[in-house]
């Protein structure tokens, strides 16, 4: 309780911490009431979870259940992510194809720049947005049109300029073979909007960044950002899609219509 109060004083609206919240709402009283109701409700224990399997160690109070890590127990039951780098790469490629992403494997960075050039020409891109990152910068020469950097230090973020771009070029944290997902973060992949607002999203990544499963991806992001995770982490699984009209699949609902992955090495 005291820890959260300390935390609250760091928030932008700290002037209201002790007074009533927005609309005269007594937040502290509501918090107290809800937590009291929860404690009262939990005085009666629930039966152990259905299925039993891994819950064998769960007693009525359930404390020992917490010692079982579902994700570790569940690993063999989830979809396969491959047990070698080659196997993982093959699964990733198959998944990206099924998801209707465009996937290229190139031997080196200059080939990646060539690949980007060809894609940009084919689609007649007029303006490509990018962010500062060694991988992105090393292929930027391959962009045959004007460019827009989203993260110039000291400059305000220009939503309108980004909205006018045809494509966003980003790095990624890692690629997940199991689901064909690309993990981006707000810290290392050009913020929140670059990978979602332009009509196409181009990801440039190294083959070493491929991990077998979602659990591995989460482990890797935690070791990369020791201490504090970025304010946004997003698993991108194929181009934006919807089935809202008669359950018929349409690509490019609000996010990118095209997801192009260029994997180097």
């Amino acid at each position: 309780m005291s820890a959260s109060k300390n935390a609250q004083t760091n928030t932008p609206t700290n002037t209201k911490t002790n007074a009533l919240g927005p609309g005269g709402h007594d937040n502290a009283a509501a918090r107290r009431d809800i937590l009291a109701r929860i404690s009262e409700a939990l005085r009666l224990p629930a039966p152990p979870p259905h299925g039993g399997g891994h819950a064998a160690g769960a007693d009525a109070g359930g404390r020992s259940a917490l010692a079982i890590l579902p994700v570790e127990a569940a690993r063999p039951f989830l979809p396969d992510g491959g047990d070698s780098p080659d196997a993982s790469l093959a699964i990733l490629a198959a998944n990206l194809e099924k998801l209707r992403a465009v996937f290229f494997r190139v031997p080196d960075l200059s080939a990646a720049a060539d690949c980007l050039f060809a894609q940009a020409r084919e689609r007649d891109w007029q303006r490509v947005a990018w962010h500062a990152h060694p991988l992105v910068e090393s292929v930027l020469a391959g962009v045959p049109c004007s460019t827009h950097r989203v993260d110039v230090p000291g400059e305000a973020f220009d939503k309108d300029a980004l909205e006018a771009c045809d494509a966003g070029l980003t790095a990624c944290e890692c690629l997940v073979a199991q689901t064909g997902s690309i993990l981006v973060s707000s810290e290392t992949c050009g913020g929140r909007a670059l990978s979602i607002l332009p009509h196409a999203h181009v990801v440039i990544a190294m083959a070493e960044q491929v991990v077998p499963t979602l659990a591995d991806a989460l482990a890797s992001i935690r070791s990369e950002h020791d201490g504090q995770l970025p304010s946004m982490l997003s698993f991108i699984t194929g181009p934006s899609r919807t089935g809202d009209i008669e359950r018929i699949l349409v690509l490019g609902a609000h996010g990118p219509k095209e997801l192009i992955v260029i994997l180097v090495g």
Partner: protein
């Protein structure tokens, strides 16, 4: 900016706000929907692709059934330790600059959100799909206060234009034909008619793009709250939630208190299972974790992030250990997609925010058992919902629990009388035999005359012909 179509018939029955009328409305709408064979065929066809995709994805699992055990355990642990998990989540969320608002009920949640908008001097609000906001009727409150609210999810946008609530809490407009959508867009957006789902989707895309850039406030839901890291997780396919949480100056998320999981790693199990059970996908297109507003060193993102934590009778479900597992629900909608009742009566007939089997379990807790117990009766108890649930909620048994609880608290007088009469007859063999004899003789006449209450049964079903002799007589003869 957008005027919803007023007075749609589906909304009219949905707006039967007097809870005492809920059962009458259900029976009337169910009878009407069941007769609409075109609608039933359309919904079945729309779900056909889902079954194929779901089964294809399930086959990629090492063991789907055991994965369900793990998912169930993850939710069970969090819900049964909510007293620890929720404060832990809140402390971690606040430490990253997020602001938490606690709401005991829908009224408080609306007050908080309206005040946040007022303090921010907001004008335009963009929303991504959020069932909790439907539960608290947020849009109506915002519009009454003069805010322009736009639903950005394609299905929700279509429903907003139609002036209808969602038909299905995952597939909001699955009952609407493409020509109706084309007419709707023509009427509201002035676009040319088309019968291509792709072209219709692009119309909405073009319409929405500027709205994301111009909105002051983005409102989203939350699928999971991760206690250990203080992140909220949002699952979507279209990218509208990503845009909603990226471009406006303020991000407000609304979540039920039961959405907590303990570890980030739990999502490695829950995210793919939510996608497979909910939409037959390996993984939904965007699964995004947010922890607070834009950080120093990040180039974009909202300046403020607020989270409204909603109780609204969830603690009442928590206080019932027998049905506590209904709080494990991850709102995938799998139980609706397989339910024979849902497929026949349709989503609007329920008259609830959460339709289908899980809605029939939780609505009596949220809105009162006496007025909503009829939903528990609308079940064939086939158990398809329980088999489909990725977190193993014992849904159809809970429907029986609700029926039992309702019978305990307010037993029907007629039902009680009927049972007493049956007991009276069954204890006296001669009276039982006489009753049987009378019934066998009079059944053909009753079928011809159809007196009430037999008429209700005979209106849509037949009875088999009466046997020539009683079971007891036949038994005696055979021996």
């Amino acid at each position: 900016m957008i005027a919803p179509t007023p007075g749609h018939p589906a909304l009219a029955s949905q707006a039967a706000t007097d809870p005492r009328l809920a059962k009458k409305q259900f029976l009337r709408d169910a009878a009407e929907s069941v007769r609409d064979t075109g609608h039933r065929a359309f919904v079945r066809k729309a779900l056909g692709g889902y079954y194929t995709n779901r089964d294809a994805q399930k086959s990629r699992y090492g063991d789907w059934e055991q994965a369900r055990d793990a998912a169930s355990l993850a939710k069970w642990s969090a819900v049964n330790h909510l007293d620890e998990m929720l404060p832990r989540f809140v402390a971690n969320f606040e430490a990253q600059g997020g602001v938490v608002h606690w709401a005991r009920n829908a009224d408080e949640a609306r007050t908080i959100i309206l005040a946040l908008l007022r303090d921010a001097e907001a004008r335009a609000v963009i929303k991504s799909k959020c069932m909790t906001s439907e539960e608290i009727h947020l849009n109506q409150a915002l519009e009454a206060d003069g805010y322009g609210v736009v639903e950005s999810d394609l299905g929700e946008f279509i429903q907003q234009l139609r002036g209808e609530p969602p038909y299905h809490f995952v597939f909001p407009c699955m009952h609407v034909r493409r020509d109706e959508i084309s007419d709707l867009f023509e009427q509201h957006l002035g676009t040319a008619p088309t019968d291509s789902p792709e072209e219709l989707t692009m119309i909405a895309r073009r319409h929405m793009r500027r709205l994301y850039v111009e909105a002051d406030v983005g409102v989203t839901g939350a699928n999971f709250l991760v206690a250990e890291t203080g992140q909220i997780s949002i699952t979507e396919n279209e990218g509208n939630a990503r845009l909603t949480a990226a471009l406006p100056r303020i991000h407000i998320a609304i979540s039920g208190i039961e959405k907590v999981v303990e570890r980030l790693d739990d999502l490695a199990v829950l995210l793919p299972m939510l996608a497979t059970a909910g939409a037959g996908q390996q993984m939904t297109c965007y699964n995004t974790l947010y922890a607070g507003p834009k950080r120093a060193g990040e180039c974009d993102g909202p300046e403020e992030m607020h989270l409204v934590l909603l109780d609204n009778a969830r603690t009442a479900i928590l206080a019932d250990p027998e049905q506590r597992d209904s709080l494990h629900c991850i709102r995938c909608g799998a139980c609706l997609n397989v339910c024979p009742i849902f497929k026949n009566v349709g989503g609007f007939t329920y008259g609830t925010t959460y339709q289908g089997p899980i809605g029939s379990v939780i609505t009596p807790h949220l809105r009162g058992l006496a007025d909503w117990n009829h939903l528990s009766g609308a079940s064939s108890l086939c158990g398809a919902c329980t088999d489909a649930c990725p977190v193993r909620i014992d849904i159809h048994t809970h429907l029986l629990h609700n029926r039992r609880n309702a019978a305990r608290t307010s037993p029907g007088r007629l039902e009680k009388l009927g049972h007493r009469f049956f007991g009276l007859v069954a204890r006296r063999p001669w009276l039982f035999a006489l009753g049987g004899w009378l019934f066998r003789r009079t059944l053909p006449l009753a079928k011809a005359l159809r007196p009430p209450p037999l008429s209700a049964w005979l209106a849509t079903r037949d009875l088999p012909p009466a046997p020539q002799e009683s079971f007891r007589a036949a038994w005696k003869r055979r021996r």
